[in-house]
Amino acid sequence: MSLLSLKKSKPSAKSTLHSVDSFIDDAISYAAGKGFHQQETTLKTLADTHRHQNNTIEKTCLKAVKCTASEKHHKGMRHATFTLTPECITQLALLSQDSGVAKSAIIREWISTEFAKRLHTDGFNKKK
């Protein structure tokens, strides 16, 4: 039997990435048999099944799941304080408002991009 039936037949999903750490951490969800997106879909499908039986309970459950997911998301993070000019604060707020992305998420993404760039240009250690 030919192996050619295994050739790519559907377009790949567009990759989305927030940081190097999230790329590495995705291995954990994969090992658990589900990606974050997959997990969300599964939960929603289950919720749909139960909707006809008990709408109220299902909504409460979904809220609880979302809360847990949100708590998990913030678990590996720490508060940090930086000094910014009023201009920077306004610009950051505008960026956040315009993109719908949280201010801290914008900063994290910027750090991750700059860090990756630096790693593959001069490196950190050579500069010391």
């Binding site: 295994l6 790519k8 790949s12 990759s15 590495i24 291995a27 990756a116 593959h120």
Partner: protein
């Protein structure tokens, strides 16, 4: 330079390739090489122990690292010409950490249906990894190929399947040879057991082809190449 030999499929010859590449770099390039064994099976660590028992063999050091090893690898890279990583057959933290910092990634696959079924997931990981490590050069290599001429078509088909996912595939392949197994048993590589043998030639060819791979500073893989149909 960090060279990762990894992938999701077990038994495709990752440890064997990593070990032979390390010896090639140490003995024929005179490089300072460190092996990193990320496989809990300790195949490479045990092989290094075998080597150390034989004073005639060039010394190669090995460390075992598991989990999130990105910073450790970046640190080790400063002290060695080449860090060769042998990463076990599963998508785990060590594999992804290594991919995020590797200069070259070699993914061995046998020309078998079960091995090729891991290609879509590897494409997903590599595509995402390109965003954090745009200078990485990744390629599949078809290993343990059958030497029967009647089965040559399967090797071409396996390459075509890999190419259809837009990931480069090396022209060089390795064939299923007892020499790989025999040399490993005594802590040697094929390059030491039979320097002029066919297996040694395969290792040299595939590694040089990997290094010659065009490293584009790109956040995406190029579109799949158009290949001729296999009859």
């Amino acid at each position: 330079m960090i060279i990762l030999v990894g992938g999701e499929k077990g038994g495709s010859g990752k440890s064997c390739l990593a070990q032979n590449i390390a010896v090639y770099l140490r003995t024929e390039k005179g490089a300072n090489v460190l092996m990193v064994d990320c496989d809990p099976q300790r195949t490479t660590s045990d092989w290094i122990q075998e080597r150390k028992a034989n004073p005639r063999l060039a010394e190669i050091n090995c460390v075992q690292l598991y989990g999130k090893i990105r910073n450790e690898l970046l640190n080790l890279r400063q002290y060695y010409d080449y860090v060769v990583i042998d990463c076990g057959g599963q998508d785990n933290l060590a594999l992804r950490s290594s991919m995020a910092v590797a200069d070259h990634i070699l993914i061995p696959l046998r020309p078998k249906r079960r091995d090729l079924k891991t290609v879509p997931h590897m494409e997903d990981i590599l595509s995402t990894c390109k965003m954090v490590n745009p200078k990485m050069n990744a390629a599949f290599v078809v290993t343990q190929c059958p030497s029967l001429p009647s089965l040559a078509g399967r090797i071409l088909e396996a390459k075509e399947v890999c190419r259809s996912f837009g990931i480069p595939v090396l022209n060089a392949v390795t064939f299923s040879r007892n020499m790989y197994d025999d040399s490993e048993e005594s802590g040697q590589s094929v390059i030491e057991s039979e320097p002029e043998g066919k297996a040694s030639h395969e290792i040299r060819t595939l590694f040089e082809e990997l290094l010659a791979g065009k490293v584009e500073d790109s956040h995406e893989f190029t579109q799949p190449q158009k290949v001729e149909a296999v009859s």
